[in-house]
């Protein structure tokens, strides 16, 4: 064990991980556990965790969520649901809520199913293989706890007509639980799918959600992926979205963060084929003493790839937002086109934003740009609105919404976008007052 930040949770997680030794996910869990025990929790000395202190997580004794069965009532679930047809899977503390799960007709060969309902060996080439465990203690932790998840596979040249909607619910009131949601999306050649993941955490405890989403894309496939986090004010959420393109396809993933005391969203893409394209967007609204961290690593391993990062934070009170975007361009990855933007709107005198672009470029014929802004509301925009009769308070509200709306517009699922607009307006009505 390599760290001074070991917790009482580790033996609990180890015991959990080792049980059900004959089960199909046992070997994968053990692999995760070994790595988790070797890595331990990161400290602030770890450069990738400079602005996100996980000491409070390390010091918490968590119960694995599936050992704390829970239910959710309709009212609490409602904000996560959107209108219109969808293949929906609701998982509460790691257990599928059968009554709220409904999967419609799918094209031949397609899979939309809880992990527990399929033979995991059919997806073992990808499950746990896209999201690297190296340097990723929370992916390792998630893997050590893996018992349930969702598999989405769209076969060659097929399209899954309606969005696949996965709702991950973490419930812990008396004592904190750690939930380990896992989603695997496999888009074969020419396959098209839209996947929405909603995360809700409920309860007064300092619950932890360690979400891992793995996406593998082949030639000509298109994946739209949207994530919405509506964690409770005490909730902690550490997510990893790992994308691998083995054929030149398109992946667009957008994360909207609306709650949580400590949130870190990690995006990683391995563009392992010429001409791969990926886009990652994020919007976080943080207030109180919340910390929101977006960390990205895009590996351009082959030529003619493109990647786009567009991340925004709205920070109020004493919230902290940090962004670290690393673009790696291998020596052979000529003609790479990569762009990174991070914008922060600061609404108080005590909020903090940190932004770190990191470009590691070993090819000599590439286009890589980055830009970051940290600022208050633009006075010229404010005046323009006021000069049209809009009062200062409404003008401020409109500009905050406008800032957020640019990212909302990137949400791939139209029904989700429509649902999010009033939710976002409601969330924004409580900041910048």
């Amino acid at each position: 064990m390599s760290t001074d930040l070991m917790t009482d949770s580790v033996p609990t997680i180890a015991t959990f991980s080792r049980r059900d030794a004959s089960g199909p996910l046992h070997d994968l869990r053990r692999e995760g556990l070994d790595r988790f025990e070797a890595l331990g929790f990161p400290t602030a000395r770890n450069e990738a965790w400079t602005y996100t202190n996980v000491k409070s997580i390390a010091k918490t004794e968590f119960t694995p969520a599936s050992l704390a069965p829970a239910t959710i009532d309709d009212e609490r679930l409602e904000p996560a649901l959107f209108d219109g047809p969808a293949h929906r899977i609701v998982i509460v503390n790691g257990v599928v809520d059968a009554a709220r799960t409904s999967i419609g007709p799918l094209p031949p060969g397609a899979i939309v199913a809880p992990l527990s309902s399929i033979d995991p060996s059919t997806v073992s080439a990808h499950l746990g293989r896209i999201a690297s465990l190296d340097e990723a203690p929370f992916v390792a932790m998630n893997t050590a706890l893996l018992t349930e998840g969702v598999v989405v596979r769209v076969p060659r040249d097929a399209k899954i007509e309606h969005p696949v909607h996965v709702v991950h619910v973490t419930v812990g009131d008396a004592s904190p639980v750690v939930n380990a949601p896992r989603t695997l999306v496999i888009a074969e050649r020419g396959g098209i799918v839209s996947v929405v993941e909603s995360f809700i955490s409920i309860g007064a405890a300092a619950n932890l959600t360690t979400a891992v989403t793995e996406v593998v894309v082949d030639d000509g496939a298109s994946v739209r992926h949207d994530r919405v986090q509506m964690d409770a004010p005490t909730g902690r959420h550490i997510s990893t979205v790992a994308v691998r393109e083995i054929g030149p396809g398109t992946v667009t993933s957008t994360t909207i963060t609306l709650g949580g005391a400590l949130v870190r969203n990690h995006y990683r893409a391995d563009l392992d084929t010429p001409g791969a394209d990926c886009t990652f967007n994020g919007l976080a609204v943080a207030s109180g003493t919340s910390t929101v961290d977006h960390t990205l690593r895009i590996n351009h391993n082959q030529p003619h790839g493109s990647s786009w990062q567009f991340f925004k934070n709205i920070l109020d009170d004493a919230a902290t937002g940090s962004f670290c975007g690393r673009i790696y361009v291998a020596e052979d990855a000529q003609k790479t086109d990569a762009k990174q933007t991070n914008k922060n709107m600061i609404l108080s005198g005590t909020a903090h934003a940190y932004t770190r672009p990191q470009l590691e470029i070993f090819a000599d014929d590439v286009k890589c740009t980055h830009g970051a802004t940290i600022g208050r509301m633009e006075p010229s925009q404010l005046f323009y609105l006021r000069s049209r009769g809009i009062d200062p308070n409404a003008a401020r509200r409109l500009l905050i919404f406008a800032f957020a709306n640019e990212t909302l517009a990137e949400v791939g699922c139209a029904a989700l976008r429509a649902r999010l607009e009033p939710i976002l307006l409601e969330r924004l009505s409580s900041v910048g007052a």
């Binding site: 609105l385 006021r386 009062d391 500009l399 640019e406």
Partner: protein, 258 residues
């Protein structure tokens, strides 16, 4: 005699401690179009921004009476609701909010100020469609973010479009002609001319006479070094086009020292 719509008396205004307006007097009656001409740096845009209520422009002396009220007591949004509209020389872009959404908020603010109910979506869209045609603005632009990615001409037309929707008593055009080609200029001018009426006045600020061939003013003022130094009819604009501003400057200095 009826009260003027706008009465500016001995107006002094500063930006960052530097006095730009040094005693402007200007009276505009309903139904009139006044043009303010002058070289760069004479204070034309400052006058527009003071009228609109931008806080960076500090009024140090004088008064502005608008429709019988002390304008300087009103904040920018109150002035707008009372009927002052400034078409910006450089309209700002507001990413993330569509022109339609923004204008609906603005129009409903005006209506609320007048004690009218909000316009419903159907009536608003009908109005928007009518006014877009009025200034030959592509309606598709209205679903895009405010001024974002608009060409120079589109931005200016969008300003006139907003004015047509908000129906101000006083339109202040701050160098609306700058950067416009002749076709765009004609469209903008046509829009303004259609909005002219007995209850509405315009202050048209321009550097060049060109715009005034299309928007024919009733009165032309020359602003030099923060003061109105000459006032005449529309022919004054042509004279300025011919002779430049130097002769007025000379006359004004002579008058000042006399």
């Amino acid at each position: 005699m009826k009260n003027p719509m706008l009465d500016i008396r001995n107006l002094h205004a500063s930006v960052d401690g530097t006095e730009i307006l040094k005693g402007v007097n200007l009276t505009v009656n309903a139904g009139e179009v006044h043009s303010i001409m002058g070289p760069n740096g004479s204070g034309k845009s400052t006058l527009a921004r003071v009228l609109a209520g931008e806080e960076a422009y500090e009024v140090t002396a004088g008064e502005i009476i608008f429709k019988g009220r002390d304008l300087l007591e009103l904040e920018a949004h109150e002035r707008a609701c009372e009927g002052i509209f400034m078409a910006f020389q450089y309209p700002v872009e507001i990413p993330g909010v569509s022109t339609k959404y923004f204008l609906k908020a603005a129009l409903n603010a005006h209506r609320k100020h007048r004690g009218q109910p909000e316009l419903d979506a159907y009536d608003f869209l009908a109005l928007v469609k009518e006014m877009a045609a009025f200034v030959e603005l592509d309606p598709a632009l209205l679903d895009r973010a405010v001024n974002e990615g608009f060409s120079g001409g589109e931005k200016k037309r969008a300003e006139i479009f907003q004015m047509a929707i908000l129906e101000p008593a006083l339109g202040v055009l701050d160098e609306t002609d700058s950067g416009l080609d002749i076709d765009a200029l004609r469209i903008v001018a046509d829009g303004v001319n259609k909005l002219r009426g007995p209850d509405r006045a315009f202050v048209v600020i321009t550097h060049y006479q060109r715009l005034l061939s299309y928007i024919v003013p009733d009165v032309v003022h020359v602003l030099l070094d923060g003061r109105i130094v000459k006032t005449g009819g529309k022919e004054l604009a042509l004279e300025l086009e011919d002779k430049g501003y130097a002769w007025i400057d000379k006359d004004a200095r002579a008058a000042a020292s006399a």
